[in-house]
């Protein structure tokens, strides 16, 4: 349970556009242990989806470009794998579910057909057609879809949003991956359905011992689901901690800003929000990318990038307020 399943180390990614180069990822560092539930929180444009695309090597390579870094999955650098080897990682090793289940499912094939082809191509053994069908029905039942046989013959358009997302979860888990990446899987769902789907994910992940990286922009969702939380800003991880430690004692000014900016159920009016805007990746701020918006910025913050400083075993923060080391 304690071996490192995934290690992202110093990942730098650029995109080439008309105006120049977007320096999107600026040294991302992340680890996921086997069976661990990791939440990756960040706002739109911070690079969380780009990071995950690199893990699965589905980043469009021109215009994208991985300029530095390693991604170790079960000890092997995924960035250096050949086509076939990477194909085996996708599905068996790592599976992904996306934000929009409608877009993720092919509208002209039945749920059953799509599920079966995933199982057929993703399976480690050679299965007969009957075995594939059985497994497909089984996994549909596992995601608590009522009347699995009927859903099997349905087309995605005949299902509701929540049901489609369950089908996507079923597809992702049918190949028995070690790691599941869930990219904002409940953002497009209704609140009560979101609640159900999150509980389902929790249950399944427990039962199968799968590790999960749960990407979201909602701190509230992360609090329900994660064991460990990474907070990302403008292409870098600014803080990471065991969930309770993060919520009890948020350290990084950005994390504090995020928590403050949330309207509270208990009232209190609309907070101010974080001043400023997300940086222009064409010409990002020097040093710590958050410094232009940081209420506690110091001189050193614009000069160099802070490295992650551990604050005990369960908390790490990349901020000069908590230590003096710089990063490359």
């Amino acid at each position: 349970m304690a071996e490192t399943l995934l290690g992202i180390d110093g990942l730098h990614v650029q995109f080439k556009v008309y105006e120049g180069r977007l320096r999107v990822l600026n040294g991302v560092r992340m680890t996921v242990q086997g069976g661990q539930r990791v939440g990756l929180v960040g706002e739109a444009g911070c690079g969380k989806t780009t990071t995950m695309r690199c893990v699965l090597r589905i980043l469009p390579i021109p215009p994208g470009k991985i300029t530095k870094g390693r991604i170790l999955f079960q000890g092997r650098d995924v960035l250096k794998l050949g086509g076939q080897a990477m194909q085996r990682v996708r599905g068996h090793g790592i599976s992904m579910i996306f934000q929009d289940p409608t877009a993720a499912l092919n509208p002209v094939f039945t749920v059953g057909d799509q599920l079966m082809s995933v199982i057929r191509y993703g399976s480690r053994q050679d299965l007969s057609r009957k075995e594939i069908r059985e497994r497909a029905l089984g996994v549909l039942r596992e995601v608590k879809l009522p009347d699995a046989e009927r859903i099997f013959t349905n087309y995605p358009v005949q299902l509701s949003g929540g049901m489609r997302q369950r089908v996507c979860i079923a597809m992702a888990l049918s190949t028995e991956p070690e790691l599941l990446i869930a990219d904002e899987p409940t953002t497009s769902l209704d609140v009560t359905i979101q609640d159900q789907v999150l509980r389902l994910l929790n249950e399944l992940v427990d039962r199968h011992g799968t590790a999960v990286i749960f990407i979201t922009h909602s701190l509230g969702v992360v609090r329900e689901l994660a064991d460990w939380v990474y907070v990302m800003y403008a292409g870098g991880i600014v803080e990471d901690a065991r969930k309770q430690d993060l919520f009890d004692r948020p350290l990084h000014p950005y994390t504090l800003g995020l928590m403050d900016a949330l309207p509270k159920l208990t009232g209190g009016g609309i907070p101010e929000g974080i001043s400023g805007r997300i940086p222009d990746y064409l010409d990002p701020p020097t040093g710590c990318r958050f410094h232009p918006r940081c209420p506690q910025a110091m001189a050193v913050c614009s000069a160099s990038r802070p490295a992650r400083m551990g604050q005990g075993d369960n908390h790490g923060v990349a901020c000069f307020l908590f230590g003096g080391e710089t990063d490359d």
Binding site: D190, M259, L262, G273
Partner: protein, 330 residues
Amino acid sequence: MTEPILRLEELRKFFVTSRGTVRAVDEVSFAVGEGETLGLVGESGSGKSTVAYTVVGLQAPTSGAIRFRGQDISRPVSKRPKRLKRSIQIVFQDPGTSLNSRRTIQQILELPLRVHHLGSRRERKTQVADLLARVELPTDYMYKSPHMLGGGERQMVAIARAVATNPDLVILDEPTSALDVSIQAKIINMLIAFQKEMNLSYLFITHDLSLMRNVASRVAIMYLGKLCEVAPTEEFFLRPLHPYTKMLLSSIPVVLPEEEALKPKKITSEGEIPSPVNVPPGCGFHTRCLEAKGGCSQAIPGMVEVGPNHLVRCHQFRSEPQTVQGGISA
């Protein structure tokens, strides 16, 4: 009591489809006072967006009345007088598609000014610059196209467009749902400032109850086309009565322990939200209601006033002998 700026009277909107009749909006009545923000909450199939679209004229009601300043305006946009379109505006949910990417911001903001003849050609450019300044966007954004802007900035342009004609009523259909928290704060603060400045009335639709708590003066919740509960904000959150309200409140993910303590006890719902084509008989919520009893599937409950301005539609509440129409006591 001053006439409410907007009053819905037994509004109904049904769609006839091959699969049956969709009862999108079913006997909805409420009122919005001048300068007030009425929050409208609901999940998929609740009909909240359809209510918004009928008020603004993108849909024609099947029956019932929509009164703007007392006048019946229950007609689609094409049949409404032009000056009405100055007074009622809408901000849509998706900033990506609510602005035409093939036009410049200047053209987009000039349109309402041009249509309602607010200023000469030369003046309009200055007016556009003013609008941009009011939403805290740089003047040279005029020459950009929406796809060059971030989601939050696009939404600010959409808001600028909505207030360009100095309207009286603005429908906000999930204005910040697609946006990040830090931008949301900025936009909501801006909306509140505009409301004070221009004495705007808002019909604020969102599923984000934490946001609703801090924005609305009254909240109405809908389920499968019917209003379930209407109450002043604090009352709604501290003393929710309808089982659906309680279920919704208990499902929201929150961050602080105080918020968690405020939520009603966890009501886990199983099962999908029924489609509005197949509204369950009797009280539409009874299939998922943990407090349902035998009579709930037999008869539709009436709307009952259980406290000052607090109305509930649930068989558990029949304390008042007569039913009252929702909203400010007429």
